[in-house]
Assembly symmetry: C2
């Protein structure tokens, strides 16, 4: 019967599932009525007061799900995250899933949701992929309130001496809208403001989103918001949101959004879906508040980070975990036969054919990620996420490859079978946590120079032979050090497809040179972004946008969203 069910689409599975009322999910966690609010029948927001009430509860164990370098073949990281969470509950561990919330804009472009897949999904997927509980709208509003305050300040006399050519704060929309990338604003004469160059980012690229996901509480949120650098003055000194006295209003605009959203999976496992920053110019993890609250509410927390382990896991372990004081108990790295074969040089159209040679050639990608995770000292489990085209030989090959190196590895069939398909993986994760020593520490100390931190990541995590800095980057490192920003961690912006800065170099490239083109201060978030190439912070729509096929059915259901 399960075989037959696997041919249902994600939306069919989701719409035929039996959701519990959100009060049941919340009630099962022992949360009292005063400590949460419903948003519809199947979504809720948890009060931050819970931290105070649960302060003496022991923290649950945090398991991070990451992946090999992503390929167009797909790895299914969110699906494994959801499936593993469901499986841990099945094997007797009270587990909460902590995921990022998706951006609405991209769903207008390309069909597809971002809430897991098959029998490992979070629900209600239609809501989660559209407006959800309004968090992204609140972040958009806060971002744009600050932008309006900047331009108004200049228009009203510019007491802070802001150089309109050096405003780094951009406006934001949760929309794929390429025409807004580069714009000129303030046209139309003296009453319409001061003309200057500007641009819009998609909301998830806003520093407000990064801060939202790194703040420990409302007070920390406000402090971080006040530190955001929005411009430089005519003396080239940084101007912050605090100089504009904007942090109170921005915090007010975020006060409801900052409370974690609670929903459920297809198997009624609680999931906190909250915050979702870019994984290149930001750190790509769900909110610290949600992760920490989940660890107070469950014995186990399963969470994920964006892109592959070289970006997502590195940032989770060097930025998020460090700031939040989270000690991850294990890292699960998702690999698939298909993706490894692509790393081995097989073209996408041949991936459905068994090919042990290509698979073998692709293993060094996994090998390098495993070496990196070892540097962080965390116990690791490889999850082989099953696809229908995988052969037994191919799966066995990966398992044996891992076994022979003393690395825990299990197949996960969570897309087709839900939590049941992840039980072996769940048990292996628990066993690994119990038996392996956890020596987690960040890869670098904060008190070394920006250059040394960047070189450490490039060499140890990516395997670069050399790191080159552009003249601009060299100048910025000196400037940022003068501003006292050199004590911050690094957030690398690099292609997710390769360890190198060339997206075409799959597998495990070696002895390559990586170029740091430019730095970007995210002082409120608390990191310096190091850009290795152009990063697209405002996507466009394709020739035939998914929006063209969207509709609402007569009974009020979403059509064309998935």
């Amino acid at each position: 019967m399960l075989e037959k069910l696997t041919f249902k689409s994600d939306i069919e599975i989701a719409q035929s599932a039996k959701m519990l009322r959100i009060e049941e999910i919340v009630g099962q966690l022992g949360i009292e009525e005063d400590d949460w609010e419903p948003y519809g029948r199947y979504k809720g927001k948890l009060s931050l007061d819970l931290f105070q009430k649960l302060q003496n509860v022991e923290d649950g164990k945090v398991v991070l799900v990451t992946a090999i370098s992503p390929t167009p073949a797909g790895e299914g990281k969110s699906t494994v995250t959801v499936g593993l969470g469901q499986a841990l509950n099945r094997v007797g561990k009270k587990t909460i899933i902590a995921l990022r919330e998706p951006s609405l804009g991209p769903s207008m472009g390309i069909k597809g949701g971002a809430a897991g897949g098959g029998y490992s999904q979070v629900m209600p997927m239609e809501d989660i992929n559209l407006h959800f509980t309004g968090d992204l709208h609140a972040i958009t509003t806060a971002n744009n309130a600050l932008a309006a305050l900047i331009d108004n300040h200049i228009h009203q006399g510019n007491e802070l001496n802001i150089d309109p050519r050096r405003i780094v704060w951009k406006r934001a929309l949760d929309m794929n809208d390429r025409a807004l990338r580069k714009i000129v604003i303030g046209l139309g004469g003296p009453v319409q403001g001061v003309p200057r160059e500007d641009g819009f980012d998609i909301t998830v690229a806003s520093e407000v989103m990064a801060i939202f996901c790194l703040a420990n509480d409302l007070e920390d949120l406000k402090i971080r918001l006040s530190k955001m650098v929005v411009a430089f003055d005519y003396d080239n000194q940084p101007i912050t949101a605090g100089h504009l006295n904007a942090q109170g209003a921005l915090t007010l605009l975020l006060k409801d959004a900052i409370r974690p959203n609670i929903v459920q999976t297809l198997e009624n496992t609680p999931a906190l879906v909250h915050g979702g920053p870019f994984a290149n110019i930001a750190h790509g993890c769900n909110s610290v508040i949600a992760t920490k609250l989940a660890s107070k509410l469950g014995e186990m927390v399963v969470t994920e980070a964006g892109f592959g382990a070289d970006l997502g896991a590195e940032k989770f372990l060097d930025i998020k975990a460090r700031y939040a004081g989270i000690k991850p108990s294990a890292v699960v790295i998702v690999a698939t036969v298909r993706a490894l074969k692509m790393h081995g040089g097989l073209a996408k159209e041949y991936l459905k054919n068994p090919d042990l040679e290509a698979l073998q050639k692709g293993m060094p990608n996994l090998e390098k990620h495993l070496e990196t995770l070892k540097e962080f000292g965390v116990p690791v489990v490889v999850a082989i996420n099953k696809f229908v085209t995988d052969t037994d030989e191919e799966v066995a090959f990966i398992k044996e490859w891992c076994d022979s190196r003393g690395i825990a590895a299990e197949e996960a069939d969570v897309w087709a079978k839900g939590g049941q398909g992840g039980e072996a993986l769940a048990k292996r994760v628990l066993e690994t946590i119990e038996t392996e020593e956890n020596k987690y520490k960040p890869l670098y100390e904060l008190n070394v120079s920006l250059q040394e931190k960047i070189e450490t990541i490039c060499k140890k995590v990516y395997g670069a032979g050399e790191v080159q800095f552009s003249p601009k980057a060299v100048k910025q490192m000196k400037q940022f050090t003068d501003f006292g920003w050199d004590q911050l961690p690094i957030c690398m912006a690099k292609t997710q497809y390769s360890f190198s800065d060339d997206p075409k170099k799959l597998g495990r490239p070696k002895n390559f040179t990586i170029t740091i083109r430019e730095l970007k201060p995210s002082i409120g978030a608390g990191f310096i972004v190091a850009l290795t190439g152009d990063v697209m912070t405002m996507p466009g729509l394709p020739k035939v946008p998914a929006a063209n096929n969207m509709d609402v059915s007569e009974d009020g259901k979403a059509v064309g969203l998935f």
Copy 2:
């Protein structure tokens, strides 16, 4: 004791009030659990399925609250609307209030909420004035999804032959941001889109908002969205959202927002707060869906329209009521001693002094509005909204002036005393509905020419001696007639401060000439906007924005919002 209480601020009164859980409010209306959803503990959204279930219930009576021409002295129209609703419940009529929902953007500029005042407020006012249930964010998103689809269409080959110089669809933000009024987008070379002039309106000025408030149901919403004119092609023919096949996606983005919000007043009277279009370039009334649903749920509905009776009531009676098939039972026109004295020529700083002469001189403003309402054939009651500085003589003067002309008039003290202070007014409204014949009909037939419709409004409602049309307006009237748009009603965009197009002419100007500068098609909303001057559709922030004083208190409450 009441005297003492009146010195509390709105926010103090609101925060000390005892709200009922929203399920109690909903339950008292006999709404079953399947037919609404909670948004937090004190807000809800009602299902559109209720229309089907209540189709055999007799419609409640709709009372429209309007006002004399607004002055800086303040009229308190929302306060009277809320107070009258509370009072009608007190005198035994099951009454629902139907209000517009406020825009967030302006609250960043000038301190002050938009949810009534004193002891006649809707709650929770902090939420209502910020993100509320996300309706405005959904409208912003729908507006901007369409904008992105337009520019993407041009970028991807422009099959529809859209002239980029003739795109009339603007982007929108719920923010006071003057720098976005006139912009140039699509800069940066061929991969960033096609450069063109553009601009942002504040969200409430979007035609999506006007449609949101005029649609009868989800299907009507979709049809209206498809009719929106977004541009003209190189042959100067209109291009609609339907040509871009955007109506399905836009409807999907609005499917939750379109369900009316339910909240309560300080006296626990149910209030549907839903939709809030501009009162100049749009019709300035809350949603038809909320008004009609309220009339199915209550014996009485009290609702309001923007600005004075020359704009708000005219549009309610000629546009909204006509499209929705609503027959208003009575119109309450709010007047204050202070505002009438301003219309009589008294400067703002002297309004607190008793001045019967100025009052007498100001009466013609009320007189003209009363004459207009008579043209529509609806029973009218004058509400004298009490201010603490009013003298008994001044109030008595207005009452006697009305009595001598056979016009019902009552004092309302709803700000200081809540529903109790409106009981006399409530009884007078009920008595007027019972005793006066209701001969409501719109002012003009739809099948006359655009010019004749505009002239009818200007002469009969404003009292203009002559109507001049600019050459552009003349050309547009011909063009719009060729497109078959001449059968639509007119939505006048005129200053709210004067019957004329000169905001300085208070009182009752006569024999003036009004100039129609330009027309604007709002084909989805279903009206032609006639502009008599420049209308600001994107406000700016003041030198010291209210945002500078906003904050969140340690216990999570809004600071500086009111």
